[in-house]
């Protein structure tokens, strides 16, 4: 046993990882189930796009790139902070009160109170789709492409993490609203998996500038392909996912703070 006491977050996350991995069979089953879900979602996209040469300006393998990028970003966010939307359970069990009695920020404690390692399954599927789709999509793998991919994955994961925090914060007011806020998180994830060019004007605008799902995968893929974006969505926005993430995190943190205030009763 180590003599030095580890930092609080490392200790908290470490205990979660050990707890999950110690039940090997159920952990393996969870990962497999996530692989299955990922594959079936990809199958849907493959079936839709392989009916035509092009849909929304993308071929089937180019659409597969959008799917892969969106899935990596969403799964990483879900793995890290997806459990933030279990807030009502924590309120009922009194765990939130216990968080308030510890010398750490509540959101940081909530984020490190779990880690959904089973989501590794979806990250694997997304990586596999990416590796298969890349050579078939007609894109060169140069330094610029690699830089863009890194920006897109990090920015995308940050965007979805912020979406989860928004969804969690809203539940301070809607204590039975898990289904309602799932429409934001999983809805946003679904929206990001498809090329935004498929949506009509107002919806496309919504998924770019309100829930910035288009930033996660579609816009970066357009940059990779050297294509101009559809009306209202210039392709250079593909580099801007970190900016969208920062803005969305600002909103998320404000909302979280006023949610905690609502809970302790200083707000409203």
């Amino acid at each position: 046993m180590a003599d030095r006491t580890p930092g609080p977050y490392r200790a908290l996350l470490g205990s979660r990882v050990r707890a999950q991995v110690s039940y090997r069979t159920s952990f393996a089953a969870d990962v497999l189930a996530n692989v299955g879900i990922g594959l079936s979602e990809f199958a849907t996209i493959y079936v839709v796009f392989s009916r035509t040469d092009e849909l929304g300006g993308l071929t089937v393998w180019q659409a597969a790139l959008v799917f892969a990028l969106a899935n990596v970003a969403f799964s990483v966010a879900d793995l890290l902070v997806g459990h933030v939307d279990t807030l009502p359970t924590l309120v009922r069990s009194g765990t939130l009160d216990a968080f308030l009695l510890r010398p750490l920020p509540v959101l940081a404690q909530l984020a490190t109170s779990d880690v959904a390692l089973r989501r590794v399954g979806r990250v694997l599927v997304a990586a596999l789709v990416f590796v298969v789709a890349w050579p078939r999509a007609g894109v060169d793998l140069d330094l610029r492409a690699v830089a863009l991919l890194v920006v897109a994955v990090l920015g995308g994961a940050a965007i979805f993490s912020a979406v989860f925090v928004v969804a969690g914060s809203l539940q301070f007011w809607l204590l039975d609203g898990r289904e309602a806020v799932n429409s934001i998180t999983y809805g946003g994830s679904n929206a990001a998996q498809y090329p935004a060019s498929l949506y009509s004007g107002p919806v496309r605008w919504l998924f770019c500038y309100v829930v910035p799902a288009a930033f996660v995968a579609y816009l970066p893929v357009l940059v990779l392909l050297g294509e101009p974006g559809p009306a209202g969505l210039p392709a250079w926005l593909g580099w801007c996912s970190p900016l969208a993430a920062v803005l969305l995190w600002g909103v998320a943190l404000l909302l979280w703070r006023s949610g905690v205030r609502h809970y302790t009763g200083s707000g409203s």
Binding site: A11, S15, G94
Partner: protein
């Protein structure tokens, strides 16, 4: 420096209830805490008692920063619990009898390791502290058991140890002995007395168990309708509500000693051999009652029954119109 300083504390809740029509709901404001003022010096031990819904738990939450006051001020260890929540968390320990602060799916010892990391306690501080808590609370036998498999008594010992691991100067306990058997609660009380004697820890506990108050607290605060209905020591509370003690005398012969001034004859038992006299401390003494009885009857044995503390509370709540 005071451990606790509360001034005109008010906390309201908004309750929504079905109104006249199906879609309209009536909004009703309930005052859980209504103008409570209180000062607790470091090292004191205060028992909060009161009926369900009197505002005890709400007060504990206001003192710890879980809830924000509607109006009034709170200073816990000299800090505003809302704006200094994290500083305060390092200096106080809190136990909720009905809610766990341990990690239910991990062995108990893991909870201590995590709390040590959360409070950034170095190993050479928290390991000896845990060894000390273990020795006095007897945790050793179930340290490696997952928390969800612990009995209530074991879990409460774990909760108390967890709240004390960082050696807080103030310990708040919300119904710590609820549901515990006689032996478990006695053991916990003994531990808390020792902890207080050794470290000078300030104690504040809410309870329905008068044993807790008698054994642990040198000051009693009765809360009723969110206000302090009594603040003082336990004998004073008994005097205040005028609860009566009972002198039981066993006589050699079943004779009637006649009227005893200052005492009421409650019952004649055992075919006239035993008589029970109720008296209050203000009007007479046990010795005076005994002397009067002895004048006309030979007393073989006697005992004095102290007022049942539950009865004291019953009188107090009844007087407040509950």
């Amino acid at each position: 420096m005071t451990a606790l300083e509360v001034q005109d504390l008010v906390r309201e809740y908004v309750v929504r209830e079905p109104g006249t029509s199906r879609f309209r709901r009536r909004r009703r404001v309930v005052r859980a805490v209504d103008g409570l003022s209180l000062r607790v010096a470091p090292g004191e031990s205060v028992g909060f008692i009161g009926a369900n819904g009197a505002g005890k738990s709400t007060t504990v939450k206001l003192l710890t920063g879980i809830l924000v006051p509607t109006s009034g001020t709170v200073r816990t260890c000299g800090l505003d619990p809302v704006t200094h929540r994290r500083d305060l968390a390092r200096r106080i320990g809190v136990v909720f009898g009905q809610r766990s602060q341990l990690w239910w799916d991990l062995p108990l010892t893991e909870s201590f390791r995590l709390l040590a990391a959360i409070h950034r306690l170095p190993a050479d501080v928290w390991r000896p502290r845990l060894a000390d808590l273990d020795a006095r609370l007897g945790l050793g036998e179930f340290l490696t058991t997952p928390v969800r498999q612990l009995s209530l008594g074991q879990r409460m010992r774990g909760e108390v140890a967890a709240a004390l691991l960082h050696s807080p100067e103030l310990l708040l306990l919300d119904e710590p002995t609820i549901g515990l058997d006689v032996l478990s609660s006695e053991r916990l009380r003994q531990f808390l007395r020792a902890e207080r004697a050794e470290h000078g820890t300030t104690l504040l506990l809410t309870t329905h168990d008068m044993g807790d108050v008698q054994r642990l607290c040198d000051r009693v605060l009765v809360v009723d309708h969110g206000r302090a209905a009594y603040d003082g020591d336990l004998p004073g509370l008994v005097r205040r509500v005028g609860a009566q003690r009972v002198l039981v005398v066993d006589l050699r012969e079943p004779v009637d000693p006649g009227l005893v001034t200052g005492a009421d004859l409650l019952a004649v038992e055992e075919g006239g051999f035993r008589r029970r006299y109720a008296f209050s401390a203000e009007s007479t003494t046990a010795a005076e009652v005994l002397a009067q009885v002895s004048r006309s009857a030979e007393v073989r044995d006697l005992s004095v029954e102290e007022p049942d503390i539950a009865d004291v509370l019953r009188r107090l709540y009844a007087a407040s119109g509950r």
